[in-house]
């Protein structure tokens, strides 16, 4: 089975409101998939449809090789879900909740005991197994919920914002667990607003917005797409400027040809693949600055203040090492270096903002 999940025009409508609109996506088997989207974008509804908690209005999906509409019970046997709101029985103990779930999945008694013990140890909650759920902290409840969802060893595990409100240590426990489960060959579907978490764990990411799948790629792929889009946008603007300058020249509006060529060269260089490099030099002086201004790999020094240099440089792999060598050669004392790539949050903002603008324009 190549895909853990395949959706086919999956749609959910509530009266006149379309929560999910003809969603088509394929999620690789044994991957960790991050499902992102702003609040109300349709993430939870999609997850509910894929976990057979809500019926699709139209379209369908194959989950673990079974159709959600025609074989919901087979789907349920193959999946587990850690819901957004902890849905354990609050007046039962952790162990009673786990046993209840195990019996609802039809686990044999011996397997039920061994798995419960193993999973409770894995997430470090065994010591609280006889505590009433409502007496537990949020993190412990979530751990118990995870154990209850994993008791039948599902092939696909859905987690709907599992680490929301948890302390860093508990988050780390859950992240480690997700990676371990994935290494065992399970597919993880992670809905989250925590971009760091998604970037850290996920092989592929889908961004849903207004019920439509707005982006789908690897984290690197999404960032590259964003960089390229930004570059195309900039390039298009610069080309327009060069076109106007050429027309000016034809009409004899240019007196200083050298200055004209220098300006045109500068604009054309802006079209090149650039990235931002920030270097902190404790002994930065004017002569060092002048020297750096003439290095070919540096397109422009955007900012220099209190020893901090921010430069637009060529994006080639060699350009960073070349510039650093030059600074050291000039006797510069480098205290920190950083390059700036778009973050997943930038990608998320870009994708969702673009949708909003299009939505307004369309509307």
């Amino acid at each position: 089975m190549k895909y853990a999940i395949e959706t086919f025009d999956l749609t959910k409508k509530y009266d006149d409101f379309t929560a999910v609109d003809a969603l088509n996506m394929k999620i690789d088997n044994k991957s960790i998939f991050g499902f992102l989207g702003p609040n109300g974008a349709g993430k939870t509804t999609t997850i509910k449809m894929l976990t057979c908690l809500v019926q699709a209005t139209s379209g369908t999906a194959n989950v673990a090789g079974y159709d959600i509409a025609t074989n919901p019970n087979e789907v349920r046997e193959k999946i587990g879900m850690v819901p957004q709101l902890v849905s354990l029985y609050s007046d039962l103990t952790v162990r009673e909740n786990i046993d209840l779930c195990a019996d609802f999945y039809g686990l044999p008694e011996d397997l039920k005991v061994s798995r419960a013990e193993e999973l409770m140890e894995l997430v470090d909650i065994k010591y609280a197994q006889n505590k009433i759920v409502k007496q537990l902290s949020g993190g412990m409840k979530q751990k118990a919920s995870v154990v209850a969802s994993l008791i039948h060893q599902p092939d696909i595990l859905f987690l709907d914002e599992p680490t929301i409100g948890l302390d860093p240590t508990t988050k780390r426990v859950l992240w480690d667990l997700m990676e371990e489960l994935n290494s065992e060959g399970r597919t993880i579907i992670l809905c989250s607003h925590d971009m760091y978490e998604v970037e850290l764990l996920c092989d592929e990411i889908g961004i849903i917005n207004g019920g439509i799948l707005a982006a789908f790629d690897t984290p690197r792929g999404l960032k590259d797409t964003m960089i390229n889009e930004q570059k195309d946008k900039k390039s298009s603007k610069n080309s327009d400027v060069i076109e106007i300058m050429d027309e000016l020249r034809k009409e004899g509006g240019v007196e200083d040809s050298a200055a004209y060529d220098q300006l045109k060269d500068k604009i054309e260089r802006k079209n090149r693949d650039l990235k931002e490099l920030s270097v902190m030099i404790s002994n930065l002086d004017e002569s060092m600055l002048n020297h750096l201004n003439n290095i070919p790999g540096i397109h422009e020094i955007v900012e220099h203040d209190s020893g901090r240099l921010v430069m637009d440089i060529d994006s080639s792999d060699e350009s960073v090492s070349l510039i650093i060598s030059e600074i050291i050669g000039q006797g510069g004392n480098i205290t920190s270096i950083s390059t700036k790539d778009p973050s997943l949050e930038d990608v998320f903002m870009s994708v969702t903002t673009k949708y909003k603008k299009e939505g307004v324009d369309d509307g």
Partner: protein
């Protein structure tokens, strides 16, 4: 310092929430209207139209006058006039009427010297109706007795010989005694002396089971749906029928236990006597509980929160309590409430429980109640399960 603005906000917030939950809003206004109508028109405190049957075994002006007096009294609703005393008694035993007023064969013979023994067979299991019928009937026949006495005295004044004969044949001690005691009213309480508490207990048990089952199902279905606990169950390969089946059995056991405790408490604390079979009483209790559980499931099938559930059932359960004969006999209510009573399952639970506990009847005497309750139960479960919204 009074924080007026904050208080105003609290009021505004509550009103907005109410406005945005239309079922709650409708219930808020509908419920008091239903209740006041029920109280105002249904149970205004006076009991009228108690169904009775009159057995007239002789014909004549006195029978006509008696029938006229009974029919003219709004307390009675004469369902039948028959000449067969056995049929009259059977009508009472079958629950068709609350009393049979049986006039003797010599009722119209004013010349007879023997007493006219009028028998009133009263369904004493309906303590409210019996408590009204007995004094009212006594009043009517006291009046008739006086009229007969006057007629006889008038007749005697014109015939001294007849008076003398009557005096001799009647009472040696008091010459007018036979005239004054012309009518002898015998009250026959078919089920003995039933106190109001005896009358109330079966219905209170039925009512307790009703509220326990309906509100309990609201908590374990609508409440669990609201808290996301049902979602956990529906994530597993488990059918709606299995989940609901488990909940039904659990609730049934609880409510049967509660009913048995109530019966034991009534016996121990208040000396209630169960004239019929205790096993049959418990079985009726279980059937009633099952029916009300089905009702709870039917209502909770589509609602998403416990609050909505409560607001949906209150306009049905509270009126059900008042029209189902818990406190007043159904037959004495206006016809519209009688019609409503017959579509309320609690009516049949009360009727069956009273029949077994007070009258001591067996299954043969309550089979209609049982069949109707089974029908209601099947209908509620069918609707509840088929309409159950598995979507979370």
């Amino acid at each position: 310092m009074v924080e007026t603005k904050k208080i105003m906000w609290m009021i505004k917030k509550d009103l907005l929430v109410l406005w945005r939950h239309k079922p709650r809003l409708i219930s808020l206004f509908l419920f008091p209207i239903i209740m006041i109508v029920l109280f105002g028109y249904g149970m205004g405190g006076t009991i009228n139209n108690i169904p009775v049957v009159v057995v007239d075994q002789s014909q004549g002006p006195l029978t006509d006058a008696t029938l006229s007096a009974i029919k003219g009294n709004t307390l009675y609703d004469v369902k039948d006039i028959t000449s067969d005393p056995t049929k009259g008694l059977q009508d009472v035993q079958n629950g068709m009427v609350k009393a049979a007023i049986i006039l003797p064969t010599n009722y119209d013979n004013l010349n007879t010297t023997s007493q006219k023994s009028i028998v009133v067979d009263v369904d004493s299991s309906d303590q409210m109706a019996a408590g009204v019928i007995i004094p009212a009937t006594e009043g009517i026949f006291n009046g008739i007795n006086q009229q007969i006495a006057v007629q006889k005295l008038q007749a005697n004044s014109t015939s001294a010989a007849a008076v003398t004969t009557n005096q001799v044949a009647g009472s040696a001690g008091n010459p007018f005694q036979s005239i004054l005691n012309t009518v002898n009213l015998q009250i026959n309480k078919l089920y003995g002396n039933i106190s109001y508490l005896d009358f109330l207990v079966p219905a209170i048990i039925g009512m307790t089971v009703l509220f326990g089952c309906v509100f309990g199902m609201g908590e374990i279905v609508a409440g669990e749906r609201e808290r996301g606990e049902l979602a956990r169950l529906f994530m597993t390969p488990t059918s709606v029928t299995t989940v609901l089946g488990g909940k039904i059995i659990s609730k049934l056991v609880q409510e049967t236990g509660r009913g048995i405790i109530l019966i034991i408490a009534a016996i121990v604390l208040f000396g209630i006597i169960i004239n019929g079979s205790i096993v049959l009483t418990v079985l009726i209790l279980m059937l009633g509980a099952l029916c009300f559980i089905g009702f709870g499931i039917m209502i909770s099938a589509r609602v998403s929160s416990q609050e909505d559930f409560m607001q949906s059932v209150m306009p049905i359960t509270m009126p059900m309590m008042f029209v189902s004969g818990v406190f007043y006999p159904i037959e004495t209510m206006p016809w519209i409430f009688q019609k409503i009573a017959y579509i309320m399952p609690l009516t049949y639970v009360n009727d069956a429980l009273r029949a077994v506990m007070l009258k001591g009847v067996g299954i043969g005497g309550i089979w209609i109640d049982v069949v109707v309750l089974i029908g209601f139960t099947a209908l509620f479960f069918a609707l509840g399960v088929t309409q159950f919204n598995r979507d979370i």
